[in-house]
Symmetry: C2
Subunit: 300 residues, 2 copies
């Protein structure tokens, strides 16, 4: 049988409580006692029972990470950042994926609460209804939204500035002389899309240019979306000399399509991504992108 405090207590003659205090480095225990108990614990290969411990103590040193899709490189880099910081602080992570479904998100959060996580890091699903807001407001533990912003929970969000990022993209493209920019934006109801669209519009306004709505598309943000979108645009003979993408994944799809259509990058069409994923710098031709401190975001 696995050693427990009682085992050590009996083996050393001290009380269970004293053993517990020693192993938690509580003061008010003599050096000598401490040594004896620690060495016995070592000898018996004692592994503390975190379950029992968190039964009695106020925290579990566990956080719940609610990811939209942990196989998406963007999220997985954020999670890596979280993981490192959690490790450093002695916390452990429960992870689950919502696949962008709020129902799953709610279910997952409840499971995490059931597990008594000390806090939640949420990469929230699209769509923000009254019900969601109420749900978030009722959470009995601290929580933050990573990378996305939810109305009414500004102070709970850790963000990079989407508006500025996209404005810079369009400023640059317009500055390069592009006048027909295909803009493959994200899902309409998430904060990132809204913010970035604002940035885009601001850049056009600054330059005194009109926006051609036919060149703007809101897509889910997968690789196929970029690929399809450019194929379609070319089929419909849309004219464009640059493509601004919602993320690097979409940009990959875009580049694939462009190459297949014998358009050279960046001579015929300039492509800009978003997120600066680890692999983006190794793409060929390499991808210009907006850096998002994913790792830092997770870490924070």
């Amino acid at each position: 049988m696995r050693a427990k405090l009682k085992t050590i207590a009996e083996a050393t003659g001290f009380s269970i409580n004293t053993v517990s205090r020693v192993l938690r480095n509580d003061r008010r225990i003599s050096e000598k006692t401490s040594r004896i108990i620690k060495s016995k614990a070592d000898e018996l290969g004692y592994i503390p029972d975190a379950i029992a411990s968190s039964m009695r103590s106020p925290n579990t040193r566990t956080i719940g990470v609610v990811s939209a899709d942990s196989s998406n490189p963007f999220f997985s880099e954020v999670i890596k950042g979280i993981s490192e910081k959690a490790d450093e602080l002695g916390y452990q992570m429960l992870i689950g994926n919502t696949e962008e479904s709020f129902e799953k998100e709610e279910h997952l959060i409840k499971l995490f609460l059931s597990r008594k996580v000390d806090g939640l890091i949420i990469m929230p699903a699209y769509n923000t209804s009254e019900h969601h807001i109420a749900f978030y407001a009722s959470l009995p533990v601290p929580f933050v939204f990573a990378g996305r912003y939810i109305d009414g929970f500004a102070s709970h969000s850790i963000l990079h500035c989407d508006e500025d990022g996209e404005r810079d993209v369009f400023r640059y493209l317009i500055g390069q002389g592009h006048r027909s920019i295909l803009y493959l934006s994200g899902p309409e109801c998430i904060s990132n899309t809204i913010e970035r669209d604002k940035g885009m519009m601001e850049a056009y306004r600054e330059a005194g240019l009109d926006i051609d709505q036919r060149l703007i598309f809101h897509l889910p943000g997968h690789m196929e979306d970029g690929y399809q979108a450019v194929n379609n645009a070319i089929n419909k003979s849309l004219e464009f000399s640059a493509v601004a993408c919602f993320n690097d994944i979409v940009a990959m799809g875009v580049m694939k399509s462009l190459s297949e259509n014998d358009l050279s990058i960046p001579d015929d069409v300039e492509v800009i991504g978003y997120d600066n994923l680890m692999f983006s710098q190794f793409m060929n031709p390499s991808l210009s992108t907006v850096d998002v401190p994913k790792h830092k975001l997770g870490y924070a």
Copy 2:
């Protein structure tokens, strides 16, 4: 205060135990009682306390996933598969990264044990010493190694067939007439490398060809490794008409270097990856690769 069994028991007049049985769908409870208790539980917004529950019951419905690097697309796809299956079975995942360090791996596993996980899925760090073997053998819970093989724990491993995969790669390349194949293999001490090297040698033997050791490199398997290796090879004027890579990430680095050196793919040099990561099919020129059922692997 959060509702607990006692709250419901007092509100309905039944005993705590009866409430517990109802909520666990234990039989031997009348329909009527069950309905009353369930509706009251709903009304009070009861969330079960999984900590207290797993204190008493033999399992925690939690598994520990020991990943080498969760931001590496290969692992993250495997983890996604695990996540889906776990979700389906009502299990939750604790995840941690070892960064390929066995010390961290051991530490992480101990933490998971402390949390009383029901089982472990391990993507083991390199290096297999006596100590590791003894450590694994001493684990008090079921465990499997995903994707890698550890001596002495064959039955604990879930594998794709590395040897066959690499043999097919070399058969194909040799069949295409390549006689100088740069082989960027993986870290020497992990099973995948060993198996694949075997496959490579077998293909050469079958074809009755000698192996040129100068074209074989064992690398850690990162993108930079592929990039550097090809740069070096070109600098040293090594002749080669194809590159077989340990994984798709290395292949990306390779392709980057080749393009920068104005070598066309696949006309001047043919490149083959391994793993068939999600993004590989969208690369341009697209990457030939060996499919590894990462998702299925995780799922299994």
